[in-house]
């Protein structure tokens, strides 16, 4: 055998192989070049559809809107946004500061536990808050019993401030997460610089640490604000009308898809302003990034100060996480003693099926985008890829409208065409399937799966590619032997993130699902709109349990 090999010139073989694989690779490379633009096109369709309706305003509809709902929608949205900005920044920044610089009883626990509320969808906190603190809820009932009076002083939870408080509890972790990052990397060190320049700790915090962390804090607040504007479940449970609920009501209550899309276009405009603000501060964050300073010791708190901080963190965690879980547990027990809703398993199966499909499709597309970005690093490709990730900023209600309109058009076109050539009446082919939902999810959650994959792919350096090629491993075998093993855990992370997001997603599912095809989130919506808190508890707990998975991943990631 040895002799056979030595009789052939090995250099010649490798020459031929390289040449042919290069030829074949050229066409494939071109295909990769086109791919990001295709995906960007799909993502941009709903945006363009919605914008088109903004550019061609229907005077009649606007007249009607202005004279009826629009003023209150705008003021509601404004007050809610202000409330969330103030609330999340107060909670997020102060908690981040305490847990990153001070030592107080339980600081280690609170450092990660304060992330946990991210696992609870805002609409779950919302209906727990309503069920607990409403007139008929356990708190007011027992207080009435104790004081033997009608409790006129008890604030009405079903109000603007009530929604703002619920959303603050649900969204403060975004601000907490980002400002903690800033404080951990440079907080204590900058405080020391200020002290060595003659400032007290308090002066140092306000004059150095806060201004330095401003980009992080603002970015966090913008994320919270985007969630607020995109929220549908919370506001509809509270009957607090904002754009998302108005879109839903005009579409499904008044059957006016065009009014819905006009409203959506206005909402998208507001979101755009927020994204631009966020991007500006992100840019500054990059400039402010300094080397992570050496581990510095925490400042110990003692006496009443330590107690106050522990008490504060404990209170936030109680209302944002412990109370909802306990209350849901009690309700779920109540509901289970009556008997498990037979359809619960069907809803859970729908949720899981949908989430798995969406996760697979989204991750596949995201992985292909990341690979395309690696092959082609030119400005156009990068721009196209950035466009593909804007879907995350689109409120679900807007996206639902923006995808439904072109899909319905395509559907009609398709069935007409088939009827014309074959004479068979097919009816609608796309609506009534999961396609519309899956495309919408892919559009919305591409960013969620793209960024972890992209950063993982960056770890596979070009020299690894070249080293593998040096051993003759190229093309599919490189994918199988190098890329997949190295990206496995990130693929898993990305798929998990999408899975959980789809599980708890409400407006897209509600507006684009096939008729009577309910998921857990949709079920929660319909049960809570009838005040059946205890029936909604089990689906809600299921969502929280799955929601905990990515939070645990996040905590593990941030602790190492």
């Amino acid at each position: 055998m040895k002799n056979d090999f030595s009789s052939v010139n090995p250099a010649a073989i490798s020459d031929i192989q390289q040449h042919s694989s290069y030829e074949a690779g050229y066409g494939i490379r071109r295909a990769w070049r086109v791919f990001p633009f295709l995906v960007a096109g799909v993502v941009l369709v709903p945006v363009c559809v919605v914008f088109a309706s903004f550019l061609s305003p229907d005077d009649e509809i606007w007249q009607h809107l202005i004279s009826t709902t629009l003023p209150s929608l705008l003021t509601n949205t404004l007050w809610l946004s202000l409330g969330v900005i103030v609330g999340t920044s107060l909670l997020g920044v102060s908690l981040a500061w305490f847990t990153s610089v001070y030592r107080f009883p339980g600081y280690r626990f609170f450092s990660w536990a304060l992330f946990l509320p991210l696992a609870i969808p805002a609409y779950v906190i919302a209906f727990v808050a309503l069920g607990t603190f409403d007139y008929t809820g356990p708190v007011q009932t027992s207080l009435r019993h104790w004081f033997n009076s009608d409790l006129l002083w008890f604030p009405d939870i079903r109000s603007g401030p009530g929604v703002a408080i619920v959303m603050t509890l649900a969204f403060y972790p975004y601000v907490y997460l980002l400002s903690r990052d800033a404080f951990l990397t440079q907080g204590k060190r900058l405080l020391e610089v200020a002290q060595s320049l003659g400032f007290t700790r308090q002066q140092g915090f306000f004059r150095v640490v806060l201004p330095m962390a401003r980009p992080w804090i603002v970015a966090g607040i913008m994320l919270a604000l985007m969630e607020t504007l995109a929220d549908f479940g919370t506001v509809s449970i509270f009957n607090y009308d904002t754009f998302t609920t108005a879109i839903y009501k005009t579409w499904f209550g008044m059957f006016s898809l065009s009014t819905a899309s006009q409203l959506a276009s206005l909402l998208i405009l507001i979101v755009l302003v927020i994204i631009m603000t966020e991007q500006r501060f992100r840019l500054r964050m990059r400039f402010s990034e300094s080397r992570k300073s050496a581990r510095v010791e925490r400042i110990p708190l003692t006496g009443w100060q330590a107690m106050a901080v522990t008490g504060f963190a404990g209170t936030v965690l109680f209302f944002a996480f412990a109370l909802p879980i306990i209350q849901l547990g009690i309700w779920a027990m109540d509901a289970l003693t009556i008997g498990l809703d037979q359809r619960y398993l069907e809803f859970a199966w729908h949720s899981i099926l949908l989430s798995v499909l969406a996760a697979l499709i989204t991750c596949l597309v995201a992985a292909m985008l990341a690979y395309a970005a690696r092959l082609h690093s030119d400005g156009y490709t990068r721009f196209a890829i950035r466009l593909t990730t804007v879907g995350y900023a689109l409120p679900g209600a807007v996206l639902a409208v923006g995808i439904f309109i072109p899909m319905a058009w395509l559907d009609n076109l398709l069935s007409d065409w088939i009827e014309n050539i074959s004479g068979v009446e097919t009816g609608l082919l796309i609506q009534g399937t999961l396609t519309v939902m899956l495309v919408a999810y892919m559009t919305r959650f591409l960013a969620v799966s793209y960024f972890p994959l992209e950063s993982a792919l960056q770890r596979v350096t070009r020299s690894i590619d070249e080293a593998a090629a040096g051993f003759g491993v190229t093309g599919w075998s490189m994918l199988r032997m190098i890329y997949f093993p190295m990206l496995k855990s990130s693929l898993f992370t990305a798929a998990t993130l999408v899975f959980v997001d789809v599980m708890k997603e409400m407006p897209i599912t509600l507006m684009t699902r096939p008729f009577d095809w309910d998921t857990l989130a949709v079920r929660i919506f319909s049960l809570t709109s009838e005040g059946q808190w205890d029936q909604a508890a089990l689906p809600a707990l299921t969502l929280i349990l799955t929601g905990l998975i990515p939070i645990i991943l996040l905590i593990r990631h941030s602790e190492t």
Partner: protein
């Protein structure tokens, strides 16, 4: 000259873990001190204790003869008039150079502040980058801004934590001299911390060598090199090997290299006291010179090119090795036997350790 800073047997500990152990030294006004030692020896912790960021569990730190740290008491950093330059500079990323430097002058009037900032930027050649942000500066400029920012409020003492570790090796020596000249010109008292001897020698008047939280010796570079207080210092500062010997007279030591003559230095004993005793003799590379005529022969086991010279590692007949700096014209092969002879006028000896 008066004493500005005194550390009086200070100790620092995290729980049971002792980081700094009974450490003492003093610094005169206008002097530049240096804490030198391998990483993890506790030198940065000492600096942070002086700044007031860390408490001490015993001993006392006095600044201008006023007690600022002792067990159970720490004067807050902002009341100490001690400036600090952090290892990673910790410049305020959201402020320009001018605003960074002026930051500590919050008690001065606007005009005073502007004047002081301009003066310092002028001295350090930072005037043309005055309106830039930290991320727009080179590493050397960032370091100067950090130094100037610490100097601005007229502190009594400046602390520099590994000031050169983030800079190119090629820049370090130059910047070290620059900093020394600046500090001397402004008559600033300073302490720097480093693990690099060359840096310590280039910048400091007094050097303290630390090891495992203890001060091994405090003195000038010359003292550390020529009068090492113990074997650790002899080994850590400069190069050399220890070979066994016997003191025969107050100025003569018998060794395998022959009889060494010169002033005998033994830490703790006078040369007369140790006459007749078995010792280990510190042989520096310049104590051994190449001599073809010498009957003393040694085998070349290793050589390192140093430009003008080779640093040869030579094995004596007994298996003991010594170092020798020999002009690089003499390019000897490994394994070759060459003639050498000792040339000493100053001999450092330690009590013989049996294991050697």
């Amino acid at each position: 000259m008066s004493t500005l800073l005194e550390l009086d047997r200070i100790s620092h500990a995290y729980g049971a873990q002792v980081i700094v152990n009974e450490l003492s030294f003093e610094l005169e006004k206008g002097e530049i001190g240096c804490l030198l030692g391998p990483s993890g020896c506790g030198k940065t912790t000492v600096l942070r204790c002086i700044a007031g960021f860390e408490p001490i569990v015993s001993g006392e730190i006095r600044l201008n003869e006023i007690s600022v740290s002792r067990a159970g008491f720490v004067l807050p950093p902002e009341q100490r008039r001690v400036g600090m330059v952090f290892q990673e500079y910790a410049l305020f990323p959201h402020l320009t150079v001018t605003a960074n430097v002026g930051f500590g002058l919050h008690r001065s009037t606007k005009a005073e502040r502007a004047h002081r900032v301009a003066e310092l930027l002028q001295i350090t050649g930072l005037m043309e980058v005055a309106n830039r942000y930290p991320h727009e500066l080179s590493g050397g400029q960032q370091q100067r801004v950090a130094l100037v920012r610490a100097l601005a409020p007229y502190p009594d003492l400046i602390l520099l934590d590994e000031p050169f570790s983030n800079l190119d090796v090629s820049l370090r020596e130059y910047l070290g001299q620059e900093i020394r000249e600046l500090l001397k010109k402004l008559n600033i008292t300073a302490i720097l911390v480093t693990h690099d001897q060359a840096e310590a020698f280039a910048v400091a008047d007094k050097i303290g060598v630390m090891h495992a939280g203890k001060m091994m010796q405090w003195g000038s570079a010359h003292e550390l090199y020529h009068h090492p207080a113990n074997r650790f210092i002899a080994d850590f500062i400069g190069q050399g090997t220890l070979i066994p010997g016997k003191v025969t007279h107050s100025d003569k030591v018998e060794t395998e290299l022959g009889t060494l003559a010169g002033n005998i230095y033994h830490p703790g004993h006078s040369s007369r006291e140790i006459a007749g005793s078995q010792v280990d003799v510190l042989i520096r590379p310049d104590d051994v010179i190449h001599d073809n005529d010498s009957s003393l022969r040694a085998v070349v086991v290793h050589k390192a090119f140093r430009g003008a010279q080779f640093l040869y590692t030579l094995r004596l007949a007994s298996g003991q090795s010594v170092l020798s700096l020999i002009s690089s014209h003499h390019d000897h092969a490994i394994g070759e036997k060459i003639g050498i002879r000792p040339q000493t006028d100053h001999i450092v000896v330690f009590d013989r350790v049996n294991s050697q």
